[in-house]
Symmetry: C2
Subunit: 409 residues, 2 copies
C-alpha cells in the first residue's frame, strides 16, 4: 500500500524516488497525483517526506489539485539552459534535472526512477544525468520495482475504485449478452433484423460505446475472439469474423477509469445457441480447475504454487501445459493470473519463475485458467478478479454467471 | 516520411534502430507495424533492410499482420535465462537483448533506441545492455530523434488518415454546438429541459460518447474550459462549472484513431448567447493574428520565424508575450503550433529556441495563436490543422467556422 512506501524505500536502500511524465495513462505518476490533466511534470519524494511536484506553469491549477507542495518548472529557466547548450534539448533537460536534484539535496543519493518517457529519451536523459552528478546513483528497475511492491496491496479507496470498475464491466457484459440473445441466426451465424450478418467488429463497437457511456475507457482494447482465434490466447479477434453458433467465443474485457486509472479484468467463454460435445468437455475441464483453484486460494500463500497446481490439475486431465513443455502452444499456455490495479498486469505474479510473490491481505488478483486448441478451432478461459480480504476471504469483486451457452432465437 | 528513414539513419550515423513495447499507444512501434494487438514486442531495423519483428508466441497472428519478417521471442528461452540469473528479470531481459543483438550481427554497431517502456526499466535494461556489449553504442535521443525526423513529413496515406480524423473531429464539434444551441438559459447559465444546470462534466461525457460512436478515441482528454480556466491554456476545465453566457469557452479537441493512431487537433473559442466588448476585442485580436499568420505561411520557411512574428503581431496590439517575458502568464504564453501525427505534438516545432524546423512539403502542423487573461476570467485560442501540400498550398484539413458567439434560446 501507499502507506508502506517509506518502509519499502528503506528496505531497498532508496533515498528518494523520481517520477516523470504525464498524470494520465502513467500509473507511477497518477498513483501519487490522481488522474489530473498534467501533460508533463516531475515528482520527487524523499524517504520520510511528502512528494514535491514540479509543474509546467501552464498547468499550475491542475498541479495544485494534487495537494502536494509544488514547484514551477519555469523557475529552472529552460530558456537559459537551451541557450547555454546551443539549443540541445537533451543537454538542456539533463541540466534542468541537475538543478532540480541539487535543489532537493539529492546529489549524493540513491534515487529510483519511474514514470513515462520514451525509451530513448529515458536512456539519454538519465545516463546523461548520471555522468553529470558523480555521487548520484540512479536505480532503474524492471519487474521488481518498489512502486510495484507498494501497489501490490490495495488500500480501501483502491479496492472500492476497482470494485466500481467491476460493476461497470459486468453491466456492459450483460448488455452484450442481452444484445446477442436478441439476435436471430441464419445459416448458422447471427444476423440483424435485415438478415445482414453481425461481425465481431459490430460487437466491439457496441462494447466501446457502452463503456464510454459508463464514463470509463478501454485503453488496451477488448478480446472477442471466435473459433481458431479463441484458441490463440491473445488474439483480439478478427473484426470481419461472423458470430457462428456452436463455436467458442472468448470475451476478455479489461476497461479502466477514464484518464488511465484502475482496471478491472474479466473473461467468459460463450457458445452461441449450443455447445458441441468437444467444446463442452473443454469447458468442463476449465470450469472445474477454476473452481478448484478458487477454493484452494489462501491468504499469505505463494502464488507460484497455484500456477504449479493449475498445471498439475490440467495435466491430470490429459492436457499439455507450459510446465511440461514451456514452448507448447496447445493446452494450458499462460499463467494463472496477475495482480490488477493501475496496470492491467501487476503484482503479485503467478509465474513458476517468481518464487516470492504472495497473496497478501489487500492483494487484488485475477484467476484465469484456460485451455487452447487452435488447430481444433477452440479455446476456453474463465476469469474473475478477486480481492484477498484482510479477513482471509477471497471475494470476487463483480458477480457474473459462468455459463457457456448463450441461447439465441 | 517513412521512405526517408534509411537516409536519415545514414545522416545520423545509425546502423540500426530498435523499437520496443506494444503496438498500441506506442507511436514508434505502430509507425512500423500499424495498430495491431501486440502487447509487447521488439522491432529491429538495420539500415537498408526491412524491419524484423520479435513477438511473444501468444501474439503470433497479430505479429504476422505487420507483414514483416518475424522471430519468436520464445526461441530466446527466457525460462533458461531466468534460471541462469536466479530469477532476476532485469538481468534475464538484458541477456535476451544480448542474444537478439548478436543474432542480427549488431554487437559492433550504433543503434538508436525507441518505443515505450517505463523510465526505470528503460534506463535499467539499456544501461545494462551497454555494459554487456562493449562495442555496442546505444543512442537515446530526446527531441531531435530520427523517428521524429522521419515522421515530420507525411506520405499520402498518413495525410488521408489525419484528414479522416479531422472529419470526425468537426462532426463531433457540430454535434456539440447543435446541442448547446438547443438548450435554454436560466439565471445566466444553460439548463436542460427540467431546468437543471448543465455542467462541463455533461458536455465532456457527450463529447466522449460522440467520439466513441465514430470509432475513435480520446487518449489525452478534451479541453473545455470556461472563464478563468479558459485563461489558463492547459486547464482542462472544471467538471463542476456551469455554462455561463458571455464567458469565453475554449474548446480544444484532439482525438486519435482507435488504438493510438493519428491525431487531429482543433480549437475554437465560444461565447454562449453574447460576447461582452472586452471578450470581443480579445477575440478580434486573436482572429486577426490567426488569419495574418495563415496568409504568411510559406513552404520551406523556418517555423521559429512565425513564432517570432506572432509575438511581434500580439505585441503591436499591446499584449505581453513570452518573447518579451519568458515567464509571463498573461497575453501570448505558448508557441504558435506543432506538427501533428502519431503524437499530438511532433515536428516541426514553432519554438523560438528551435532554429532548424521548417514547413516542408508534407508537414502537417497546427496554427493556434491565443491570448490569456486569467485574472480577467478570459482566454481565446483558435486552432486548425494545416497540411503543407507539395504544391505549396496551405490546406486546412477540416473546415469549420471561426465564429465566437453561439446563439442560445
Amino acid at each position: 500500500m501507499k502507506s508502506d512506501l517509506d518502509q519499502i524505500m528503506e528496505k531497498n536502500d532508496l533515498d528518494a524516488i523520481l517520477v516523470t511524465g504525464p498524470a494520465q495513462h502513467n500509473p507511477a505518476m497518477s498513483y501519487f497525483t490522481g488522474i489530473i490533466h498534467m501533460t508533463n511534470g516531475d515528482l520527487i519524494k524523499k524517504r520520510g517526506s511528502d512528494p514535491v511536484l514540479f509543474y509546467n506553469p501552464m498547468e499550475r491549477d491542475e498541479a495544485a489539485k494534487s495537494g502536494f507542495k509544488t514547484k514551477n518548472l519555469a523557475d529552472y529557466r529552460f530558456d537559459e539552459l537551451m541557450k547555454k547548450t546551443n539549443g540541445n534539448i537533451l543537454e538542456a533537460t539533463i541540466l534542468r534535472y541537475e538543478r532540480m536534484i541539487s535543489d532537493l539535496d539529492l546529489t549524493s543519493a540513491r534515487v529510483g526512477i519511474f514514470g513515462r518517457m520514451d525509451v530513448g529519451s529515458a536512456y539519454g536523459v538519465f545516463s546523461g544525468l548520471r555522468e553529470k552528478i558523480p555521487n548520484l546513483e540512479l536505480v532503474g528497475q524492471l519487474g521488481d520495482s518498489i512502486l510495484l511492491q507498494a501497489m501490490a496491496t490495495k488500500d480501501t479507496e483502491e479496492v472500492e475504485r476497482i470494485r466500481a470498475m467491476g460493476a461497470v464491466t459486468v453491466k456492459v457484459v450483460w448488455k452484450v449478452v442481452d444484445y446477442l440473445s436478441s439476435l436471430k441466426s441464419k445459416n448458422g451465424a447471427l444476423v440483424n433484423e435485415n438478415s445482414d450478418p453481425i461481425r465481431i467488429r459490430d460487437i466491439k463497437r457496441k462494447i466501446n460505446l457502452w463503456l464510454t457511456e459508463s464514463g470509463v475507457e478501454n485503453p488496451e482494447g477488448t478480446i472477442f475472439a471466435i473459433g481458431r482465434d479463441a484458441g490463440v490466447p491473445h488474439s483480439s479477434g478478427n473484426p470481419d469474423d461472423l458470430l457462428y453458433l456452436g463455436k467458442t467465443i472468448i470475451f476478455d474485457i479489461f476497461p479502466a477509469e477514464a484518464g488511465g486509472g484502475y482496471f478491472y479484468d474479466f473473461t467468459r467463454t460463450w457458445c452461441l445457441g449450443y455447445a458441441p460435445d468437444s467444446v463442452m468437455a473443454l469447458y468442463e475441464d476449465v470450469l472445474s480447475v477454476y473452481q478448484q483453484i478458487l477454493s484452494e486460494l489462501k491468504m499469505n500463500s505463494y502464488c507460484f504454487k497455484y500456477q504449479d497446481r493449475t498445471c498439475e490439475l490440467f495435466e491430470m486431465k490429459g492436457h499439455p501445459t507450459i510446465k511440461s513443455n514451456p514452448q507448447t502452444q496447445e493446452g494450458y499456455v499462460h499463467s494463472l493470473g496477475h495482480g490488477v490495479g493501475l496496470h492491467i498486469h501487476e503484482y503479485p505474479r503467478f509465474s513458476s519463475y517468481v518464487k516470492e510473490d504472495r497473496l497478501h491481505p489487500g492483494s487484488i488478483v485475477t484467476v484465469e485458467p484456460g485451455l487452447y486448441y487452435p488447430e481444433k478451432d477452440m479455446g476456453v478461459r474463465l476469469e474473475d478478479t478477486v480481492w484477498v480480504r484482510p479477513d482471509g476471504v477471497m471475494e470476487i469483486l463483480a458477480d457474473y454467471p459462468l455459463d457457456l451457452v448463450i441461447p439465441v432465437s
